[in-house]
Symmetry: C2
Subunit: 277 residues, 2 copies
Amino acid sequence: MSTKPPSARENPIGIFDSGVGGLTVVRAVRAALPAENIVYLGDTARLPYGTKSAETVTRYSIACMRFLLRHEVKLILVACNTATAFALPELRSMLTVPVIGAVEPGAKAALSATKSGHLGVIGTLGTIRSGAYETTLRSLDPGTRVSGQACPLFVPLAEEGWTDDDIALLTARRYLHELAARAPVIDTLVLGCTHYPLLAAVIAHAAALEFAHPVRTVDSATAMAVAAREVLDRRGERRESTTPGDFRCYVTDANRLAELAPRFLGEPLSSFEVVDL
Amino acid sequence: MSTKPPSARENPIGIFDSGVGGLTVVRAVRAALPAENIVYLGDTARLPYGTKSAETVTRYSIACMRFLLRHEVKLILVACNTATAFALPELRSMLTVPVIGAVEPGAKAALSATKSGHLGVIGTLGTIRSGAYETTLRSLDPGTRVSGQACPLFVPLAEEGWTDDDIALLTARRYLHELAARAPVIDTLVLGCTHYPLLAAVIAHAAALEFAHPVRTVDSATAMAVAAREVLDRRGERRESTTPGDFRCYVTDANRLAELAPRFLGEPLSSFEVVDL
């Protein structure tokens, strides 16, 4: 017998990231689940997580999780690749609410899409070096071949808003040229960073130019939103309403937020609150 | 009466930065003062400093200073703009050895070079937002006009080694186009970041294209080396030898060091040691 209160469906989905990049996950969740209430936490005061130790990232991730739990979230999405790689098992062991990481949904979507069985993953230096996607993809299908390409220019390009111009295309072509030279049979490319949905069009354009065959791109943010819908449906916790859900945004530092947030969210950020964890 | 031991001239110059960018300062000091022994510390485990609070940056800077003092340095160069902005007065108050910051030498060189009295400063978002150059330039000459331009793509371009190609030139042109539109009479441009000497040629090329008149570029790293020579000469502590000085490199994390260090140092890094502060 469930002990869930009748109001469980009204409880928000909690999403956290080390910065504002996770707002692309908010955007995807709002598109897939418009009735859901959402609480977002960007730990902008302590970013980046990618350069920190596993212990520090785990400690910070637990603090983010505790903040979201105070908002009685029914589901947590870890939008940060580093937090997923280092802290996901520990977060899951501490919680009764389900937790969706940043890696597995995109990995599964890529495995469904590939015909050649050879996947490409693009991400930050930290994500590619961690091998998180490779480990997850191999655990899901040991026969999969995975080639990674770090794209360090993509995050600053997305943050500058230079997402659809000559510099963005030349940069994407140079990275994908390197990847195609190493792994020409890739037919599916995972955008393994929350910033990359902003560059999705230029990445797809560059892939079409650099590979001699069609390449599908898989957006991790959209894959996480699909996974969230599946989890809520399975648990009978999807909010049913014709009124759009509420969205609350918290950050630990408001620096550049007004400039950056709308690019990732796809709409103006109506309000936010700065919190100390 | 001086209490300096006779060996004071043999003592090394200490240089620290939050990362490997300060190796451009090492390179400039070795060019200006080839006989000097140098100890470098890159606090790579805790970079970037630019996103951290004044208290944290000061604490880290003091730890870097203490490490250098254990090597009996006769002079300290703070190659990090953020550490200079937040911690320089405190470091100076704690020390009897002289300390040269990252901002003032470049600012003085720019004031000597300008005829229009209107200077441009390019740097990271943190440096430009801090107004450190503006404050220093105004304190040196209250009549100076200063216009800043943040160039967030330059650090990843330098780290990728994409310093002399179409992407670098288009990026530099876009930033300097914005600066020239706001401040067309700028005749001197300060490269206010330790990474930027790697892009000096492409920045000069872009400036020539975007301004309708000649623009001189002032490299902070070279200006710091000139200031170091002046301080040592004034104190009678310059090492006189025909044999090149010794160079020791310490970092708090060796990640990417082998790839990055030679770009900044201008030669292979023969050895280094990882230390815990």
